[in-house]
Amino acid sequence: MKQLDAEALCRQLAEQIRPHVTPATALVGIYTGGLWLAERLHKELGIQQPLGAIDVSFYRDDYGSKGLHAKPQKTGIPFNVDGAHVILVDDVLYTGRTTRAALNELFDFGRPAAVELAVLVDRGSRELPIAARYCAHTLPEALPRDQSLELQRDDTGGFTLKLTQRT
């Protein structure tokens, strides 16, 4: 895989979303990488609704086999979900299972008017009928399953995409 410039992708993603932002647009970031990205987009796009955060640990479909994720974080949706135009933000789109879990969790807060998905990178290998409306980069070939691609944030807030071999 060629080196991806996370900062450039982030700017591209913001420009894709910008024409569609309305006063009713609300962003919800999925922990951890998706939330960092959502924080950046929220500022960059001047979103008026407060930023939401979702940790999908309690909605994952592998709880029965893998148990509870260590150190789950607090989900917080500080705007009224009923009638909101929500953009879910994640760093990497893969099987679609995280998005499914986040959708289920979001709907326990109310009935949004619409939900869209924004991701930095689509790495392929979807297992559910889920697609991103906004996507800065789609890998030409799906990544092997034993590789993990994640957004990293350094001390100055700069983004990089890190590819690691799962053990």
Binding site: F58, Y63, K71
Partner: protein, 319 residues
């Protein structure tokens, strides 16, 4: 010997006591409880974690708060909850504890929440399940005799961490009837494990266990002396129903010497918090003005208790 509460992977298999529970597991429960507190503010107060599981509340002894909060916790995790008050049930007809358990296992129980007047009853059930190869069924001790009340101890630790952040610079006083208190035993075990440098127990000699100082606590028989400079005051209920013989004169006399009043509380640090596991005997171990005062965190304890029980049950229920 393996800790009977942990499985071969070191995960929590049953929650029976806080005594001997490793610090990382204790901390993991508190960390896991934090995001569960948020669920109470949602429109739909439900998470899907225990969907399809059956939780049996086996209460061989009366309880309102503990049973109710366990029930709410299990229901918020989407479990099916069955409440059994055994006082009025099969045990009264002569059925043995383990026969009751076997019958409920035949009804596809996934978890037992057990309260029993006999110390060790939840452990007996856990061993029975293990000996019969039913490792998928979990036991949570909801209070056994004078032995332990681990979820109360955990919710107390959660409350302290919420208000004081760090355990390692605190002085904590446990006041009253330590002798009959399973709550106090769980509190002392947890406080010690979490690194609280000074745990004090304050009470009359007749209501403190012999050699209580061997638990690693400082003993005070003078309440004013014991409360000086403490960060946390944990009151205990005077357990009249467990007393036989002349352990104390009268409730009025007890209140005069051991009751927490505003005047005695003033000896603690100005930002000290006051806790009580409930049910409170107002005017016996605690004055109403203190129980309803600005330093009391007794009702937050109850709310946090739901999140802590959700954390315990969701950690058990995944395997």
């Amino acid at each position: 010997m393996r800790n009977p509460q942990l499985n071969q992977h070191g995960e929590l298999q049953h929650l029976l006591t806080l005594d001997g529970l490793p610090r990382d597991i204790l901390t993991a429960i508190l960390d896991t409880a934090a995001p569960f507190t948020e669920v109470a503010e949602r429109e739909v107060k439900k998470l899907p974690l225990l969907r399809g599981k059956s939780v049996f509340n086996l209460f061989f002894e009366n309880s309102t708060r503990t049973r109710t909060t366990f029930e709410i916790a299990a229901k918020r995790l989407s479990a099916d909850v069955v409440n059994l008050n055994i006082n009025t049930s099969s045990a009264a007809k002569g059925e043995s504890l383990l026969d009751t358990v076997d019958n409920l296992c035949a009804m596809q129980a996934d978890m037992f929440v057990v309260r029993h007047a006999a110390s060790g009853a939840p452990m007996l059930i856990a061993q029975h399940l293990q000996n019969t190869g039913r490792d998928h069924i979990h036991v949570v001790n909801a209070g056994d005799g004078r032995h332990a009340h681990p979820t109360q101890g955990l919710l107390d630790m959660y409350t302290i961490r919420h208000f004081k952040q760090d355990f390692t610079n605190l002085t904590v006083a446990i006041v009253g009837d330590v002798l009959h208190s399973r709550v106090a035993r769980s509190q002392i075990a947890a406080l010690t494990t979490l690194g609280v440098p000074e745990v004090r127990v304050i009470g009359p000699k007749t209501l403190l266990p012999t050699e209580v100082e061997k638990l690693g606590v400082r003993v005070f028989h003078d309440m004013r002396e014991g409360l000086k400079g403490v960060d946390v005051v944990m009151m205990l209920r005077l357990q009249n129903e467990r007393m036989n013989g002349a352990l104390l004169p009268t409730p009025q006399e007890y209140y005069k010497i051991w009751g927490l009043t505003a005047e005695k509380l003033a000896l603690a640090k100005p930002d000290a918090i006051v806790m009580h596991p409930g049910p409170m005997n107002r005017g016996v171990e605690i004055d109403s003005a203190v129980a309803d005062g600005a330093q009391a965190v007794i009702l937050p304890q109850v709310t946090f208790g739901i999140a802590v029980r959700m954390a315990v049950m969701s950690m058990l229920g995944s395997h």
